[in-house]
Amino acid sequence: MTLMKQFLGAAATLALCAGAATAEPALIYDLGGKFDKSFNEAAYGGAERWKAETGGSYKELEMQSEAQREQALRRLAETGANPIVMTGFAFGDVLNAVAPDYPNTKFAIIDMVVDQPNVRSVVFTEEQGSYLVGVMAAMASKSGTVGFIGGMDIPLIRKFGCGYAQGVVAANPGAKVIQNMTGTTPTAWNDPVKGAELASSQVSQGADVIYAAAGGTGIGVLQAAADAGILSIGVDSNQNHLQPGKVLTSMLKRVDNAVYDAFKSGTDLETGINVMDLAAGGVGYAMDENNAALVTPEMLAAVEAAAAKIISGEIVVHDYMSDNTCPVN
């Protein structure tokens, strides 16, 4: 028994040493929480994929309040986690202050640009993905009117709407796009009741495909659209399964790929700005068994053609955040 104990102790010491030799990566979720069915959950999915493939382990931290940001970052950096990945633009300022203190640790931030030598800034071209689902929406619409429902009225969400409108108009120049924002405060992300009302209002104005980029509010939009017998489009994660056979597609923002890539490169993480565009597989649209019957071969061909043109540079989708205006309404 004593021998066994000693043996186990030795094994444990060995394991600890091994752990220290190869640093563990870490992931910090933003206030939305790990299981938000959208942005943060996608990050979790990427980390889990890395874990399943490599058999490695990672540290993770869920924020409880705004005040924990800096503390959380420093704690993880002190314990030797490397690289440290964080989701959400809100980490920008804190990381800018913390990163210089840990020059040997690599950081990756999603949805924000932080100009430090040991930081990788991952940004997505949401306008390109939205353009593609816009093309699909215009072709699926019989009335020639489609809708867009955004969450909180911020430039990032306008960027989704603007890309979508450009795609719709490209596929059907006569189409009308009704755009609504849920509100101007953070409660706009979690108001499914208002989302459903907005959707009903757009339906009564003739919209028969509605794209929701509104977090939890989008759940209400998808539900109301399904109740009214029209199609909807999900966002960030694949939301096709939320209303099977009623969700035309989902605009994918591959946060999971960004996390997976960062974890995979480990301490050799390349720093600088990393643009996750259509060509890099950063954005796209979801196809699965839930929407296979809704998407016709013509629609698929048109979307694929548009995607190829965007990648080749033949189509340039205007980015709303570059000048805060949109060429189409």
Partner: protein, 322 residues
């Protein structure tokens, strides 16, 4: 604007106004008895969660409604114990209830469903579907009255009709019964009620429980009454506070509460339907429409139009003289 657009906006206004109406009446009972209640938001949220969760587990909207009322009542009892029995500050107790509900719903929701605090989407018998009133389809062809009856009056869920029935019921209870007289008296001058040999504590507890009941229905409406389908984190989105504003706007009276909440619902519906309203000279931005309920309340409070007279003993715990 044609008749059908007008009806759609009014219809949407009714749907948005109903949770406000229920919460406003809840606040009315509580505050008329002298217990301020800023925990309406939290109680509604708690009720919405339990209604959505139980409806999705059992597949019955009615069981969900009962569970929602239960959840809301338990918070109301906490508010009662803290502010009536132990004479704590009613506002602080209300704030605590809001925080408690906001945290508990997500915590329990995550533990039960692993969906980040949401409940699974519910359908069929698990939610209250719109009901068509008798003769609505037959009368739909009649000019003017037909569409109004078919689109505006018919086609809501049972909870909408319950909410509207609560208005005359509340009026009758408060102004035509002995219980109502005592309830109003306890909010104005609890000593007189006590002198008459009626228990102030029991009356206040009853009023707080009524508030819990009505908030429970309001929460169940948010989560399980079509077009809603399930609970979402923080889904009340400030409705409890707008209901409080409506209560002040309505001067703590049931019929005016109906008017105020329907007005606020309508303003929201208009803001949803017409993003920016062009009135010829200038464009009214949507943010103005969204802020209007609060602006109107402040105007009322400032005494420009009418006068808000809250129950005199409101906010004060009753201490029996010895």
């Amino acid at each position: 604007m044609d008749l059908s657009t007008l009806l759609q906006v009014l219809d949407s206004g009714v749907r948005l106004g109903v949770p406000l109406l229920l919460a406003c009446l809840a606040g009315l009972y509580s505050e008329r008895s002298g217990v301020f209640d800023i925990g309406l938001e939290g109680k509604m949220l708690m009720a919405a969660f339990f209604a959505g969760a139980v409806a999705s587990i059992t597949g019955s909207a009615w069981l969900g409604l009962i569970a929602g009322i239960g959840g809301s009542l338990s918070l109301a009892i906490i508010h009662g114990i803290a502010s009536i029995t132990f004479r704590g500050n009613q506002l602080i107790s209300g704030v605590a209830i809001n925080f408690l509900a906001s945290g508990l719903t997500v915590l329990i929701g995550q533990r039960w469903f692993h969906l980040g605090g949401r409940t699974p989407p519910i359908k069929g018998a698990a939610r209250f579907e719109a009901i068509t009133l008798p003769g609505a389809d037959a009368l739909a062809g009649v000019p003017v009255f037909g569409p109004i009856y078919h689109d505006l009056i018919s086609g809501h869920t049972i909870l909408v009709y319950v909410a509207f029935a609560c208005v005359p019921l509340t009026w009758w209870l408060l102004f035509r019964t002995r219980f109502g007289l005592r309830l109003r008296a306890v909010g104005e001058n609890p000593e007189s009620v006590d002198t008459a040999g009626v228990s102030v504590l029991r009356l206040r507890y009853t009023a707080v429980a009524m508030a819990g009941l009505l908030c429970g229905i309001a929460g169940a409406y948010l989560a399980t009454s079509a077009p809603s389908a399930g609970f979402g984190k923080e889904m009340t989105a400030g409705k409890g506070f707008i209901a409080l504003a409506a209560l002040i706007f309505a001067n703590w009276r049931p019929w005016r509460a109906l008017g105020a909440t329907m007005l606020f619902g309508l303003l929201e519906a208009v803001a949803i339907r017409f993003q920016n309203i062009d009135v010829g000279l200038f464009v009214v931005p949507v943010q103005f429409m969204q802020a209007l309920p609060y602006i109107l309340t402040v105007v009322i409070l400032a005494g420009f139009i009418g006068k808000a007279t809250p129950p005199r003993a409101g906010g004060e715990a009753y201490v029996k003289e010895r």
